[in-house]
């Protein structure tokens, strides 16, 4: 629904504002300055200094309101500097000046209100300190809204109000993020120590605060990371046909609403605090469920705290066709408790389920477990077996590659089918996005050094939705830049989430290719590096730093026998529809491609012919994107870093050169 617009008049100037926007935004937008001592653009308004008071008239009735927290809801006339307003501002300014005569921001604001003398309000409480705390509340709000710690607050009633930590002691929970000092307008809060001795702490702080402010002000209208964490994209992925369902056959499901982030938020999440995985992180994407009663396994009947679920947890479960949120939380708990990776467990189980439904295996193999899609209870039983080292669980626990090879070796079913649907590359199970319709992402997954995990590149939207990297060269460029960029902040112990799970309000000003990189956020990371080390960083330098490591990692992969063209080749399920059912579920899209890209007439083709034609096309496309990406990375056509590339990067050590291509 479109927000309602309201016309208001400010000092005779007509302005249109959105309903419920704060009056101060309109006033500032009209180019009018208001005196204030408690308003901060990145914090929710306090409305305590009362200096921004304006006189408004609605339907003939006049009143005074504070512009900072007055939501505009109807047409009105506003005077920002009427006689009545001026009179009160003068008195308020005198009050401030009487109490804190030497604080520069007060002197400045008072002067703007036409006051230079506050002696009428001088008292025993007058504080001559030019850096006195003036009770503006910025620090309290920053502690709450920027980093959600709520350690600073006011104590004492009335005139005794003062800033403190709990019980007047230095609180050990303070993580030393220094947000409070940064927003303090008087310098009342001082930072004593920077423990790890950065070269330029202010530079780090300045950019950290930008992130904080974005989290506090933008996240609630963007991804809601603070509220629901990464689970916010469960419903997004479903809507864009990217949520893995039934071992990546499909990208959406009518039951997704049962497990989306709103369900988790309303019925499950109880913890919303920073978990400290990244010191001072204001995003606090980690969520937890408290008091969850387990229904199965060794802790049956216990009430436990579960760390999660996040997006991949839910995706792993929808991939198994399980849309019961209680199951998801229980699966999450036991995977964590057993030390089993949720993604591998979910993707592995989804493969087993499809094989079971296709008759590749039967209850004779599974020890009686009916492992069909959606079989929540059976999945948990199999998971418990895995942990005990018993029964069918032992086999499933060894992963998709093991199962594939075993079942093909044993001559069960169609070997090609088993290879096509076993979603692993280099022995690692796929993480939970459907890459089928995005060529760039197919490569992003399969070419990743450790296997198909998207922490090198997630290019689905850029490629499939935005169509911003249409050519092979464009895709190759993305497959060059993003893996290096992501490797870089991984190397520095920095998290990826504040790079792209919140975006600056004006990121739109960049053209899509640049916007996708979120230049301002990349710059934040560069400044963190510079503030810490004293060395300036730019994109070129960053890529060079990262490429040394990335190529080294690739050579190690070569050493272990994975880092080759064959090792970068994904199962066909990752590239296109394996089964008839799968083709038919997106027949319009696939038929269209046959027609527009290959010039075929699908109406004259059988389903088998169409599938074969599409497969041939997609497999050849994939080969081409690998060619382009290898070339851009300076690797041979077998996917091995060349000696020239190693020399260029300054890592031409004899041991490495021995592994490199010519």
């Amino acid at each position: 629904m479109a927000p309602t617009k309201i016309d208001i008049t400010i000092n005779d100037k007509k302005i249109t504002v959105l309903e419920d926007s704060m009056l101060i935004k309109a006033v500032i937008g009209a180019g009018i300055a208001l005196p204030t001592l408690c308003y901060h653009k990145d914090l929710t308004p306090n409305g305590t200094c009362r200096l921004c008071m304006c006189e408004i008239e609605i339907k003939g009735k006049r009143r005074l309101v504070t512009a900072c927290n007055y939501p505009v809801r109807q047409e009105m006339t506003v005077w920002t500097n009427s006689e009545r307003v001026q009179k009160h501002r003068k008195v308020l300014a005198q009050m401030y000046l009487g109490r804190w005569p030497n604080v520069p921001v007060i002197q400045d604001v008072a002067r703007r209100c036409g006051v230079t003398d506050g002696s009428a309000f001088a008292s025993d409480l007058t504080d001559p300190n030019p850096k006195a705390c003036i009770l503006c509340g910025h620090c309290v709000k920053a502690c709450d809204e920027f980093i959600q710690e709520r350690i600073l607050d006011f104590a004492g009633r009335g005139i005794l109000r003062h800033l403190t930590m709990p019980f007047g002691e230095s609180d050990p929970h303070c993580i030393g993020c220094t947000s409070c000092a940064h927003v303090c307008p008087t310098g009342a809060i001082q930072i004593i120590d920077d423990t790890n001795h950065p070269v330029d702490p202010d530079l780090i702080r300045k950019h950290g605060m930008k992130v904080n402010a974005e989290m506090a002000t933008l996240d609630k209208n963007q991804c809601c990371m603070r509220e629901v964490g990464t689970a916010n994209i469960v419903e997004v992925m479903d809507r864009y046909d990217l949520l893995p369902v039934h071992n990546y056959k499909f990208g959406q499901h009518p039951d997704t609403y049962k497990v989306d982030s709103q369900v988790l938020r309303k019925k499950y999440f109880t913890q919303n605090n920073p978990d400290g995985c990244w010191f001072g992180c204001s995003m606090s994407c980690a969520k937890a469920v408290d008091g969850f009663e387990l229904k199965t396994g060794p802790y049956k009947g216990h009430r436990v705290t579960v760390d999660g679920p996040e997006y991949e947890t839910v995706g792993a479960c929808t991939n198994m066709g399980c849309f019961d949120p209680d199951f998801i939380v229980e699966f999450n708990f036991y995977c964590d408790t057993y030390g089993i990776d949720i993604i591998s467990a979910g993707t592995g189980m989804a493969f087993v389920m499809e094989c079971f439904e296709a008759g590749v295996i039967t209850t004779a193999d599974t020890g009686g477990l009916e492992l069909k899609f959606g079989a929540c209870a059976e999945v948990l039983e199999c998971l418990h077996q895995m942990s005990r080292g018993e029964g069918f669980g032992v086999e499933v626990g060894q992963g998709v590659r093991f199962l594939k090879e075993k079942w093909i070796r044993e001559g069960r079913g169609d070997a090609r089918f088993i290879r096509d649907i076993g979603m692993e590359v280099k022995g690692l199970e796929y993480s939970e996005y459907v890459p089928k319709e995005s060529l760039a992402q197919q490569a992003g997954y399969a070419m990743a050094v450790k296997g198909p995990q998207h922490d090198e590149a997630w290019l689905i939207f850029m490629d499939m939705v935005n169509n911003q990297i249409p050519s092979f060269e464009d895709k190759a460029e993305a497959l060059y830049y993003f893996p290096l960029w992501r490797t870089w902040f991984g190397l520095h112990g920095l998290c990826k989430i504040v790079w792209n799970d919140v975006a600056p309000a004006d990121n739109k000003k960049y053209a899509p290719q640049l916007a996708a990189k979120i230049p301002e956020h990349v710059d934040n990371y560069f400044k963190f590096y510079e503030g810490m080390t004293g060395e300036k960083l730019d994109e070129e330098k960053m890529l060079a730093q990262s490429a040394r490591v990335h190529n080294l990692q690739r050579l190690m992969s070569v050493l272990f026998g994975f880092g080759t063209r064959a090792g970068d080749t994904p199962p066909y399920r990752s590239l296109g529809p394996v089964t008839e059912e799968e083709y038919l579920s997106r027949a319009e899209r696939y038929d269209g491609q046959l027609q527009s890209v290959l010039g075929l007439d699908p109406a004259k083709m059988t389903l088998d012919e169409k599938r074969a034609a599409l497969r041939a096309h997609r497999e050849s496309q994939y080969q081409k994107v690998m060619d382009a990406a290898y070339a851009r990375r300076g690797w041979s056509q077998d996917g091995i870093p060349t000696k020239a590339r190693l020399r260029e990067l300054g890592i031409d050590l004899p041991e490495l050169l021995a592994l490199a291509a010519d």
Partner: protein, 66 residues
């Protein structure tokens, strides 16, 4: 006809707004940037910005996965 992201053709009709196009394509993601002929349209104007027939519209989704 409106061309979106040089990928989809959306049938044009009289009075069509940016919001109508987004609804048609089910583009509901939070971090999107809409532009027509290079001009960025702010979210508050989706519902009252008309889309001219034959125009090229880009709907840029900012997302890099988990």
């Amino acid at each position: 006809m409106i061309r979106v992201n040089d990928l989809h053709d959306v049938p044009w009709r009289e009075g069509m707004t940016v919001q109508d196009v987004l609804d048609h394509l089910k583009y509901t993601y939070a971090l999107i940037t809409v532009s027509i002929g290079g001009d960025v349209i702010e979210p508050e104007h989706y519902a009252d910005t008309p889309v001219p027939d034959g125009c090229a519209m880009t709907v840029f989704h900012l997302a890099h996965g988990g």
